[in-house]
């Protein structure tokens, strides 16, 4: 399988503070890769660097092209979509308007509309609240909206940043069920999670980062729970 995304020596600095030190990571097309690690390990900075909202050093090769100097908007056009940490849905817009903005890069309006119907069928609650202001949705509903909005651009690579954060266990189970479905449909996914056990169950491969560096990479099945704690501590 060819790599859809390859990070080579990725670095992210915030002023004098280095959040990511020379991180290497690859994702093959159709793979679900989990990026695990404790708070402040550099996971969200890595996502920020891939989307282009955070300035970074090193190389980001997506679909054979170095996108590391491209503005964030151009990366979306190339096929990267994100469901950001904290969901970041547009609270002052309706559910329908949120989904519409997700499809902003698309020229095929009719197909985009049918995609919207498909996502609503997957998350019926979004259909029930289609004309409601998104800020009035519950946390779980907002997360569903954030994922559906990202899918509206028909991405090649979906970045999911902490999709289970702050949600009730029952909702988390549904979100993970949905991610499993996306994987089964052949979508390439980079999943950033604090909920390591759930993420490892879904992922083909796992990267563990601590203090901005990869401390483990390999098949999820080979990583036992006891090792994870040591890796989180950076050993």
């Amino acid at each position: 399988m060819s790599d859809l995304l390859r990070l080579e020596g990725l670095t992210v600095n915030y002023g004098p503070v280095t959040a990511v030190h020379g991180l290497d990571l690859t994702i093959a097309a159709g793979e679900l890769v989990a990026l695990l690690g404790p708070n402040g390990a550099g996971k969200s900075s890595t996502i920020g660097a891939i989307t282009g909202l955070v300035r970074s050093g090193g190389k980001i090769i997506f679909d054979g092209v170095d996108i590391s100097r491209m503005p964030a908007e151009a990366r979306v056009e190339r096929g990267i979509a994100v469901s950001p940490e904290g969901r970041r849905i547009f609270a002052n817009l309706t559910v329908a308007e949120n989904l519409r903005l997700g499809a902003a890069t698309r020229k095929d309006a009719a197909a985009a509309r049918s995609d919207m119907d498909r996502h609503i069928a997957l998350f019926p609650v979004l259909g029930e609240r289609i004309s409601q202001q998104a800020g009035t949705l519950s946390g779980g509903e907002q997360q569903m909206l954030a994922i559906a909005r990202a899918l509206m651009s028909r991405p090649k690579l979906l970045l999911l940043d902490e999709p289970s954060l702050g949600l009730a266990p029952m909702i988390v189970a549904r979100i993970f069920e949905f991610i499993a479905q996306l994987k089964a449909d052949g979508l390439t996914v980079l999943l950033v999670e604090q909920n390591a056990v759930q993420a490892m169950r879904l992922a083909d491969r796992v990267y563990v980062v601590a203090t901005g560096q990869v401390t483990y990479s390999g098949p999820a099945a080979e990583l036992a729970g006891s090792d994870l704690m040591a890796l989180y501590m950076g050993n």
Binding site: T51, V82, F90, A91, N92, R100, L101, A104, T105, S153
Partner: protein, 299 residues
């Protein structure tokens, strides 16, 4: 009764003018967090452009309206490109100082290149005739001003609700970086905000010229200060607030002019600001602003 109707139309006309200029400020502020004090000089630049085109013989009022809107869009978008884009990521005060700098620079340019003295300009004088509606006589210009302002605002609302760019602008007013994650170019959203602001300035400028019958280098500055006050009353960043604040300011001013005895006419501004202060004491966030306490977080 007739006096009352005339004053009502008067207030609606003044209010419309403030509302159009205030909306121009609010559209840019809601997206960039920039109070564009150079907006008045955009109005000035439009007025001088019309003076120039009239001097070369293009003197149809209809053509002038189209030219005013186009000049407004061109000047406003050009200012964004040249002056505000380089400081877009700088602290808010830098943007504010840049706006003042541009304002002073343009005023001085008008003085040096054209004339420091006001120029008479009568292109739109024909617009002001008296209409007799039943027992009431009203100025056609004032009625037109209210009608055109209402149509412009309705068009703006339609644009913001129906077009993808409009929806993106509403989203950007709350969370700009996430709008970029939808693949919508930041430059496009900001240029659209400045273009709308310029178009509104163009419409406002036509009525200002018709009322004043002249052009002066500092003609826009006082007006922008009034529009700024209108935005504050309405709640800064809120478009409905800007329109409502402008209307309210028009009503307060005309109401005071009608209510105050002649010898106290000079105190109109003082009373206006007393009323504005009272409104803000009652609602510090403005009529349509959202109240935020320190530490509030929005999800």
């Amino acid at each position: 009764m007739e006096y009352f109707v005339q004053q009502l139309v008067n207030a609606l006309a003044f209010g419309s003018e403030y509302a159009l200029v205030a909306l121009g400020l609010a559209v840019v502020f809601s997206i960039m967090g920039l109070v564009n004090f150079a907006h008045g000089e955009v109005i000035g630049a439009i007025a001088y452009s019309l003076l120039l085109t009239a001097s070369v013989g293009l003197s149809s009022p209809f053509l002038a309206v189209v030219l005013a809107v186009l000049a407004g869009i061109a000047v406003s978008v050009a200012l964004e490109r040249v002056a505000f884009r380089p400081v877009r990521n700088a602290p808010t005060t830098t943007g504010l100082l840049t706006a003042f700098g541009v304002s002073i620079l343009l005023q001085n340019m008008f003085q040096l290149l054209i004339s420091p003295r006001p120029q008479a300009f009568s292109l739109f004088n024909g617009m002001s005739t008296t209409w007799h509606l039943g027992p009431y006589s009203v100025s056609s210009l004032q009625v037109m001003e209210f009608v055109v302002a209402a149509i412009s605002m309705a068009a703006l609302v339609l644009f913001l609700n129906r077009s993808t760019l409009g929806v993106a602008m509403r989203a950007a007013s709350r969370d700009f970086s996430t709008v970029r994650l939808m693949g919508i170019r930041a430059n496009r959203v900001i240029a659209a905000a400045f273009a709308i602001s310029g178009a509104l300035a163009g419409i406002a400028c036509v009525f200002i010229l018709a009322r004043r019958g002249g052009v002066a280098p500092d003609m826009g500055f006082g007006l922008v200060l009034k529009a700024f006050v209108a935005c504050v009353i309405g709640g800064f960043g809120s478009l409905i607030g800007a329109a409502a604040g402008g209307m309210l300011l028009g009503f307060i001013e005309v109401g005071l002019l009608a209510a105050l005895p002649q010898e106290m006419g000079g105190l109109k501004e003082a009373f206006t600001y007393v009323i504005v202060t009272l409104i803000l004491l009652y609602k510090p966030e403005g009529l349509f602003g959202t109240r935020r306490e320190l530490g509030d977080k929005e999800f």
